[in-house]
């Protein structure tokens, strides 16, 4: 028990990532408000970013910038952070696209609730 608690405390970024991912997934799957679904997606992606960046981190490591003053320092891995920049750009574009779709849906249905949209679907389509 003590050992497990120790592991959790030492690896807290991963633990946090798992909890964030679960919160995000739960929000996506259970909330019917479209904005909340989108928020859930964003939380979930942040969890994955955290997982990646934490994987490349070394506690007490130097920042990976070429510098001749401390050449023997332990540098943290810059690659996961660089990859996550790409991930953030992708996540921004997904968010923008989803927001545009929500605006379109709101204009045709007058609501941002997925359940009400499902109820109104037939009448609006028939028009």
């Amino acid at each position: 028990m003590n050992l497990l608690a120790n592991k959790l405390i030492i690896n807290y970024p991963y633990f946090a990532a798992v909890i964030l991912f679960m919160i995000g997934a739960l929000t996506v799957l259970t909330r019917s408000n479209l904005f909340k679904k989108l928020l859930g997606i964003n939380i979930m992606e942040s969890a994955i970013f955290l997982l990646f960046v934490a994987g490349g981190n070394i506690r007490g490591g130097a920042s990976p910038i070429l510098d001749n003053t401390h050449a023997d320092a332990v540098y943290i891995n810059p690659l996961p952070s660089a990859l996550m920049l790409t991930g953030i750009v992708v996540s921004v574009s997904v968010t923008a696209f989803a927001l545009a779709l929500i605006i379109r849906l709101y204009k045709s249905y007058g609501t941002t609730d997925a359940r009400q949209i499902a109820l109104m679907r037939d009448e609006v389509t028939r028009k």
Partner: protein, 497 residues
Amino acid sequence: MTDSFTANLPVYVIIAPLFVAIVLPTFARLKRLVQGLVLLVGVLGVAGTGYLAYMVLSKEGFPMIYSMGGWPAPWGIELVVGNLGAFFLLVVSGVSLPVALFSRDNLTVEVGGKERVARFYVFYLLLVGALSGMALTHDLFNVYVLVEVATLSCCALVSSRKHPRAAEAAFNYLILATLGSALVMGGIGFIYMITGHLNMGFASQEINRIWQHNPHVVWLAFSFMLVGFGVKSALFPLHIWLPDAHSTAPSPASAILSGLAVKGYMICLLKVLYNVFGHSLMQEFAVHRIMVLAGTIAILAGSISAMTQDDLKRRLAFSTVAQVGYIILGFGIVNTKGLAGTLFYLASHAVIKSLLFLSAGSIIAVTGKKKVSELAGIGRKMPITMATFTIASLSLIGIPLFSGFIGKWHLLVGSMEAGNFLPTAVIIIGSVLCAAYLLPVIRVAYFESAPQEDWKDPGFSQKLALIVLAAATVILGVVPGPFLELATRAATDLLMR
């Protein structure tokens, strides 16, 4: 000069559609020019990939490895033109060209407005570029980026029709697909954490060396990858976005979504499973059994749901769910025959499903009828369209002399060789079910009396596209020769690691 051209051909194949997609919005008004450029890119793509496939087949120093920016493997991004890459490239370019040809005529009506046509083509070309990239890339993070580009352009294609249903379907697709790509990225993260490599070859060596030390992380990576790509390629319980998205999109978009986009994700899954984890690790973790089981359920459930649909496009969309089951099932049959059959089936399904969606689309565009039960007598009014539909249906069912048969036959032989009789039985039952949901359409179209309406076959370019695709499925069925050879070599490569 020619040497440098050949050496850079893999990059040209990927960036040509992307470049054209980038500059298309600047002359969106000139519809003729836009369509001409798209067709030109398609033709050049077919020529380039054909040349690459020819070189791969004649083995002139292949697999060809291309390092982006001149950075060698563990640091840089690699493109590998192996047998699998050349095979899928050929499928992508071969199917996307007829679809572009088909979309020339009535796209303006389908997307609702002249100014939206260029937007459709932008996303179409982005999708084609991303799929070509998926075929060649040998880097895990690159896979993620390409998957994301493909997903966004798929969503944009679905939403390109000016209809509230389309926006709704696109939103549901976007949410679930982003869930899937988050999972894929997580899986890549786990692989990177235990191996320290993103290059598939190096990651594979490392993961096979050290997997005993962290079996749980390998498990997590496996499951994240399976579920992530499962959502994107519409594996049965995760398929709920597909029927809406594929039936509300404009017909050329449904054709390319059902025919190619889904296949692209499955090629990525195949690469991750066999090139990164390797078949020995798959068997160690019994992943191949999971895939056979998932495929079985998908075939049965997809076919039965397809039978209950009266809307023609929805029926075809559910049929895609069932056919995805075949391919996933085939990925779990770990021998050369089975994998070669799966790859061949993947290619022939790409051709068949785009043909089915295109002919259904032209029927719907001409008659305005969407229900199967309303299609009485279409076969006599629109002979060419319905004939191509029939050819595609027979091929999908697996009648000899059509391409679907060759794929199913090899799959069947492969599963018997593997000594697993569940897939053998399911493949045969699936064919019967497939006949049960496609033959009624043909019966209604040919053997019921036609109403007194002036329905005609569509215009020349649409007919040409339909005939090209129908000829492709017949030719692949009669002389599968070089194509099957390429698939077999790709399967051998996959099993070598």
